[in-house]
Amino acid sequence: MKSKILISSILIFFSILFSPFLFAQDNQSTVKNETPKEKKYTNKGDNSKCFTCHAHNVIEFKNEKDGKIIKRRMSNNFRIDTVQFYNGNHWNFKCTDCHDSQYGKTPHDGQLRFTDMPKCLDCHGGDPAFAQYKFEQISVEFEKSVHSTKHRAEFSCWSCHDPHTYKINARNKQDVKTTIAYDNSICLSCHADVDKYQLISSKINPNILTKHEWLPNQANHFKNVRCIECHAQRDDSILVAHNIQPKAKAVKKCVECHSKNPVLLQSLYKFKVQESRAAQGFLNSAILTEGYVIGANRNTYLNIFTIIAFACAVLGISIHAYLRSKIK
């Protein structure tokens, strides 16, 4: 009987102790149950002609003079991953919505490569349907960024956001780790790729690992925060900061994240903060559903308990010491 009471007491104690996590979990599960809308593709047929060549490593064409079939490798730059394309944001686009309609003819006219490509704002600018994404504000922030000020001629939205594969991330994903990996892969597509980096800069591509040697627990940081958390100027008006700063202005003070008011709440966890999920008793609870940041997550109840316990101990010792001093 006694053992049953003991086990029940332990279970009740741990249930109360861990209740904040249970609350956090409940809130999370309500968001995860959303079912994706079914897509109705209307341009797959038109695109399939382009993808006959542009979705493959090897292309075949006929030599008109002798009728021989010639095989050539398709350049990586012109090859499209159709799975990613049809899962991306532009999944229902015709290739010729953006590319010149003359690309319908093969072989393509070499001069076509000099035609201007549309920019993000050409479609998304001023359209109330896209107002929530604030493309205009993003454009203003990008213009201020080091990417634009130093490499204006070479740099465009497409340098980071491949329109063939880009998929909106921070706003939809419940798993922050996926957003981190996806967003960091955008930065690394240049900063860890010499060939692509040199399309924009003649400098030697700095080694990311060496440059971040100062960062304690480097691998863990790389997996749990995005590059832009430290390298972009945060902006309250947009969800994802686009004003990439010169390296001298990068965040290097640990306490900017490891403190009561972590900058992560204005960047990586901004969307979660907007959704305002609360884990009871915890400071900066938005972070708790995905991870834990030393210094940023403090339990209010635990803090109060420790202060009271500490005060009681000091008071008890003081009274004991005083009474001891009084005896002769």
Binding site: F18, F21, L22, Q25, P216, A219, N220, K253, C254, V255, E256, H258, S259, K260, N261, L288, T289, G291, Y292, I294, G295, N297, R298, N299, L302, T306, A309, F310, A313, V314, I317, H320, A321, L323, R324, I327
Partner: protein, 207 residues
């Protein structure tokens, strides 16, 4: 009043105790700085806190292994063995002495001797510290040092968070123990005699 001297603390215990105390102190100070640091206030740099905390934590693990070996191979380990029968009564008797008896100038119910280094209350707290809190804080500390080995989420719980909470809780218990331990060390033949005994190895007691 004349005093008896008993050689109770051999060299290895004194060195272990010294390192243990210094490391715990370093860990508590840097731990508080890491947990409660902010852009407005910090005792010293976060990076240094992390570095010192890690170094002290790893060293404490080594020092703890020395303690375990020492207790296993010397008779010091016997002082941590509890005779269960009548233990609660002895514990309450000691608590009663510290709460009331000491002010009535009563004699200590369990005076320190070569056979009994710890009174029942010391036995209880030292076992709780050295065989529960310290090993658990070491294990959770190592897990925090290599968080990748932890399952991120299990049965709906954030395992890393639970590990860290346990680490902080045991850190708090050890901090409280340290304060009370230092105070109780002033209850000796003189206020400094217990501190001196951890330097020269000789425990002083009343006749």
């Amino acid at each position: 009043m004349s005093h008896n001297k008993i050689y109770l603390y051999p060299v290895w215990i004194r060195f272990w105790h010294l390192f243990n105390a210094l490391l715990c102190l370093g860990l508590i100070i840097t731990g508080i700085n890491m947990q409660y640091t902010s852009t407005d206030f910090q005792m010293f740099g976060f990076v240094w806190s992390v570095r010192i905390h890690n170094i002290c934590g790893i060293t404490l693990s080594v020092v703890y292994i020395v303690f375990l070996f020492g207790n296993f191979f010397t008779k010091n380990g016997n002082f941590y063995k509890v005779e269960i029968k009548g233990y609660v009564d002895r514990l309450l008797k000691q608590v009663n002495y510290y709460t009331f008896g000491i002010f009535k100038k009563e004699k200590a119910p369990f005076p320190i001797s070569e056979e009994r280094k710890f009174n029942p209350l010391q036995q209880f707290t030292y076992i709780a510290m050295m065989y529960l809190s310290v090993p658990l804080i070491i294990v959770t500390g190592w897990l925090m040092l290599y968080p990748d080995v932890l399952v991120h989420r299990k049965l709906g719980f954030n395992v890393l968070l639970l590990t860290d909470l346990a680490h902080i809780c045991f850190g708090f218990f050890i901090s409280m123990f340290l304060i009370i331990h230092v105070y109780f060390c002033t209850i000796g033949v003189t206020k400094l005699s217990s501190f001196q005994s951890m330097i020269d190895g000789w425990h002083q007691s009343h006749d």
